[in-house]
């Protein structure tokens, strides 16, 4: 009986969003009388940073500082339609919708500015600091604050825009069954090192090294934050979490929060994260969806590492000490 070491690797190809019948998200953007911009969405921020990213995307598109943008994701009853925050689709789908809405709002903003400055709207650009300037003649400018006031109180214009992003439903070809389930794929690879105690079946994950290819990281710190948390979650899925340990039998199922197992702060593997940026063709500013993917490759990597360590293939999650011991027993030469 001994502690055995193993190493496992896994790579994944992860679609952004789903396509069960068309995958739409809509966004509305409008300016307040003082030239702040409001993004209205039904997409939910559940801690991954949706609001921050949508504010950045809107600000970048309109040409204003990010702190001039407020994102309202308050209410799916009253907001523009969104399929939801799942399948790593939030940044990609809502981001594209916000770009479209923000472009339309920007166009109206430039038209109002053009009237105020008595120039052509196509001769105007934003300076990113809250002003609109005449190309090549920056001394001729107007603040977005004044443009918004003019639109609201003088010219009767609504500086606003509508955005709609739809991945249309893809039907399988009759002959081949081929279809296009997704338009945008992120990728990841993980190497995990484990120790397995072949007497108790206990697994300790020593290190996890992850590489994530996620398109462009629109907010690198927030991407890293999500990937670090996701890597932990992947190990948690691999080794700990289940509500139904003996599915379909309810025996020994957890009945409450306190019986749902996850690794705590004392059970952390040494974790490394590397981000590769390969801008996607149809993502907002090149983004893909890293969300769920960040918790996926650790699972097969850990399973492979366990195989490497003790020679048994466990194909049921989570890989509990009991499952390992049973597999070892079934495997043992009599």
């Amino acid at each position: 009986m001994a502690i055995r070491r193993g190493r496992g690797v896994a790579a994944i190809n992860y679609p952004t969003g789903m396509n069960l019948g068309g995958d739409p998200t809509q966004a509305l953007v409008h300016s307040t009388p003082t030239g702040n911009f409001m993004v209205t969405l039904s997409s939910v921020d559940l801690g991954q940073g949706m609001k921050q990213i949508m504010a950045q995307i809107c600000a970048e598109t309109i040409g204003v500082p990010t702190d001039r943008v407020v994102v309202d994701t308050a209410d799916t009853d009253t907001g523009p339609h969104c399929m939801g925050t799942f399948a790593s689709r939030g940044t990609h789908r809502a981001g594209n919708a916000v770009i479209q809405a923000a472009r339309e709002a920007r166009q109206v903003m430039l038209e109002v500015a053009a009237e105020e400055l008595e120039v052509n709207a196509s001769d105007l650009e934003t300076d990113g600091q809250g002003n609109i300037i005449v190309k090549g003649a920056p001394q001729k400018s107007i603040s977005i604050f004044d443009v918004a006031l003019s639109a609201h109180f003088k010219r009767g214009r609504s500086i606003s825009g509508r955005g709609m992003f739809l991945i249309p439903r893809s039907y399988p070809e009759k002959e081949t069954g081929a279809m296009k389930p997704s338009t945008c794929y992120a990728h990841a690879c993980t190497v995990a090192e484990v120790e397995v105690d072949d007497e108790t079946g206990e697994v300790t994950v020593l290190t996890v090294k992850n590489v994530f290819e996620i398109g462009r990281a629109l907010n690198p710190k927030m991407v890293e934050q999500q990937l670090v948390g996701g890597s932990w979650m992947g190990i948690s899925h691999a080794l700990y979490e289940t509500t139904e340990p003996y599915y379909p039998s309810r025996d020994h199922g957890g009945t409450d929060f306190n019986q749902y197992l996850m690794p705590g702060p004392g059970d952390l593997a040494k974790t490394e994260i590397i981000v590769l940026e390969r801008p996607s063709a149809d993502g907002p500013y090149g983004a893909k969806g890293p969300g769920e993917m960040c918790a996926n490759p650790q699972i097969p990597a850990v399973a492979n590492a366990i195989f490497d360590a003790v020679g048994v293939r466990i194909d049921t999650l989570p890989i509990t000490p009991e499952r390992i011991l049973r597999a070892l027993k079934a495997h043992a030469p009599n």
Partner: protein, 160 residues
């Protein structure tokens, strides 16, 4: 059910309420007094989201009856910031990106505060131990551990 009076200080100011006997402090704080910084995750003492400080000790407000707190000094994350500025722990949590959904954060900060009050220069193991009663679903803990270590370092620099 008869109401009972309870009186304690919350983050330095006097609070007095009539509550149903058996009301938890978590419920009294959130729904009576309006301090929603302690979160109700499990309501059974296993997640740590409701952690607060009573007379200098870390306590779970979901398992503490409000009526046992008469005369107590109760502290929550809502009372941490000083003069409008963030407390070093709050600043460190922000800088380390140690919060995502934020549900565990007030409890984590309370647990870290009690640790640093008693052990200003904790080792990593001591931080891990201090946070081990608090569950986080999002961050993978490492950013939280780093935030607490950073706050401890910035505290000791201020003293030096």
């Amino acid at each position: 059910m008869a109401k009972v009076p309870v009186q304690f200080t919350l983050n330095g100011s006097e609070k007095a309420e009539f509550i149903d006997s058996g009301t938890t402090l978590l419920h009294a704080l959130r729904d009576k007094i309006g301090d929603t910084s302690p979160k109700g995750g499990c309501h059974q003492g296993t997640c740590g989201a409701c952690s607060i400080i009573i007379d200098g000790e870390l306590r779970l407000s979901c398992l503490t009856l409000a009526e046992t707190c008469n005369g107590a000094d109760v502290r929550t994350t809502a009372g941490l910031s000083e003069g409008g500025g963030l407390h070093p722990l709050q600043r460190a949590f922000l800088d380390a990106f140690a919060t995502q959904c934020g549900f565990c954060t007030p409890g984590m900060i309370m647990a870290a505060k009690v640790l640093l009050d008693h052990t200003p220069n904790p080792s990593r193991e001591e931080v891990v131990e201090a946070l081990s009663g608090n569950i986080c679903r999002c961050t993978g803990y490492e950013p939280i551990i780093q935030a607490v270590l950073t706050a401890a370092r910035s505290n000791s620099q201020n003293v030096a």
